[in-house]
């Protein structure tokens, strides 16, 4: 047992913390208010190697591990939930599947630009009628000569409007039992017939780009199929297992930011002649918040450690995502309560954190789906 981070992990955390405090936090309120996607900031993050943390150097990555990546997501999330979400999605969903399942040629062509931070990636799974039930995907792809032709619609796709490629899932046939066979395709966003718009007005994570995709006779070379053509479904389940670690880390970051604000405020705010932090009603809230954040962080790091050590982590990443996201909503809600009327004002930023963190219970598998994943792991 060793709870000590390595020097590299500490240095990564410290660097990202400083970067996020200097370059992200001062803009978070404006990006939220005007729903601005911080394209320039992502360029800087790319130059610093943040978009390639968990990928090897030969694919343009930084050669770091999942723990370093989780620490980086937490630090960025502390500064801005929306930026954190786009960051986590770019790495865990946009780039990781190519790393896990891509051929050497696909990695050269499509992973290198993402891992080296020159472009962003995106992952198109959810559809208007296929959310938690991803098996119900309606987007279809058929082979026509040397090309696949894809038709369908995807919704709430993070980063797509700023992405170089989107990994799109589509039904390519049926099994003998009549179940859909789902495959994944690497689709460059400049392919004719691929329409990407961002029509959404979101409650939170407003600095993150969320897109709608319409695919009308989109043609991609057949080599763009990702991994095993028949195993698209299990591939994205594996991808989501990894993604959960980053969403959990993001929730921890947002919760930590809200807690820091609440603690500082409680020490400053005087009522009845003393700081409200001297009242047990407030102390008990702060004690619970601090404890829950640390418990969630430990779970995140354990799941990341399991992944780094090639051990099964499906259950643990679901634990982390479920607990951290629900914890973060509680913590942000209490942080706002501690701020009283001031907390309800945008200037104090905790209301944004509460709006941002609510998504953590919904995106990349709702809390209900996490419970299903866990129950399945228990053998139910």
């Amino acid at each position: 047992m060793d709870f000590e981070l390595t020097n590299e992990q500490k240095m990564t955390r410290d660097m990202v913390r400083e970067f996020a405090e200097q370059e992200i936090a001062p803009h978070a309120r404006e990006w939220d208010e005007k729903a601005i996607f911080p394209e320039e900031t992502f360029k800087q993050m790319g130059e610093l190697g943040l978009l390639g943390i968990p990928f090897p150097e030969k694919y343009g990555g930084s050669g770091g591990d999942t723990i370093s990546y989780a620490l980086a997501v937490e630090e960025i999330g502390k500064a801005c939930g929306g930026t954190g979400l786009s960051y986590a999605a770019a790495v865990s969903l946009g780039a990781s599947p190519i790393y896990y399942f891509g051929t050497e040629e696909q990695k050269e062509e499509h992973l290198v630009p993402l891992a080296s931070g020159k472009a962003l990636g995106s992952f198109g799974l959810t559809e208007p009628n296929a959310g938690s039930d991803a098996g119900g995907t309606q987007t279809k792809a058929y082979l026509d000569g040397d090309e696949y032709v894809i038709n369908g619609e995807k919704c709430w796709i993070t980063n797509a409007q700023y992405a170089r490629t989107v990994i799109v899932t589509a039904v390519t046939g049926k099994t003998e039992k009549g179940k859909n066979i789902i495959s994944a395709f690497i689709v460059p966003t400049d392919t004719p017939g691929f329409k990407i718009t961002s029509p959404y007005d979101k409650m939170g994570v407003r600095a993150s780009n969320t897109s709608e995709l319409i695919l009308e006779d989109v043609r991609v070379p057949k080599e763009n199929i990702l991994g095993d053509p028949k195993k698209g479904f299990s591939q994205f389940l594996y991808t989501l297992d990894g993604g959960r670690i980053s969403i959990a880390a993001l929730a921890v970051g947002i919760a930590q930011a809200a807690f820091n604000k609440a603690l500082a405020y409680a020490k400053e705010r005087k009522q009845f002649g003393q700081p409200i932090s001297s009242f047990q009603a407030i102390q008990f809230k702060l004690a619970d918040m601090a404890m829950e954040i640390e418990l969630a962080r430990n779970m995140v790091l354990k799941a990341a450690w399991l992944k780094d050590n090639d051990k099964p982590f499906t259950k643990e990443s679901a634990f982390a995502k479920l607990y951290a996201s629900e914890m973060a909503t509680r913590v942000c809600n209490q942080a706002l309560q501690i701020h009283g009327g001031y907390g309800y004002m945008k200037e104090y930023e905790v209301e944004r954190m509460l709006r941002d963190t609510k998504l953590m219970e919904i995106g990349e598998g709702t809390s209900e789906i996490q419970r299903l994943v866990i129950a399945r792991q228990l053998g139910c």
Partner: protein, 257 residues
Amino acid sequence: MNIFVLMKRTFDTEEKIVINDGVVDEEGAEFIINPYDEYAIEEAIVLRDEHGGEVTVVTVGDEEAEKELRTALAMGADKAVLIDMEDFDEEIDHFTVAEALTAYLKEQDYDIILGGNVAVDDGAGQVAPRVAEGLGINQVTTITGIQVDGEKVEIERDVEGDVEKIETSLPLLVTCQQGLNEPRYPSLPGIMKAKKKPLDTLDIDDLDLDEEEIAAKTKTLDKYLPPEKGAGKVLEGEIDEQVNELVSLLKNEAKVI
């Protein structure tokens, strides 16, 4: 060009500092590279990229300082040296540190040595000038600009907000002031590469120094936090009355005029 940087690991003065019995509590403190030394590291990297050569970052401390040395390597320095004082039994002050650095540098082939203007913890600004004296080389403190052309060096120096322009020559020691540059963030690939860069550890014996001879020359009697800021005073009444009251307060109470 052979470039050396003198670096200090300090606690972060932007974080809360706790003093127990005259000693800064290291348990709760966050440790960083002295911010002025970050300017020195950055400038060293810029000079190397422009003129070629190697950047070696040197610190005097214990193995805890390895993280800060690795951070300097991650920013782009080539080598790091830790002069380990773990087994040093005497008291340590600026004299001790300067003697250790001087003994180390005497054996090195250096063209330019950069340090921070001061360390943010004790703000003494003693070590680097002492090292220059010890080595018998030119020194310019609080620089905000530097151009090296062969042996010739043109420097801009901060003098209480004004700029002094100086021409000097290598070998040279400079101390870096805010405004010289904007230190880079260590990149992720930099952090990973830093792991493989050489970090040598030396102790006093390796430097042929005698403990007693370089023991501290000063004694710290006490350390305490500045007094908490008292409440301000808002003057009232007509402007004339307020001005009169202010003048009388400055004269009689604050005794500054």
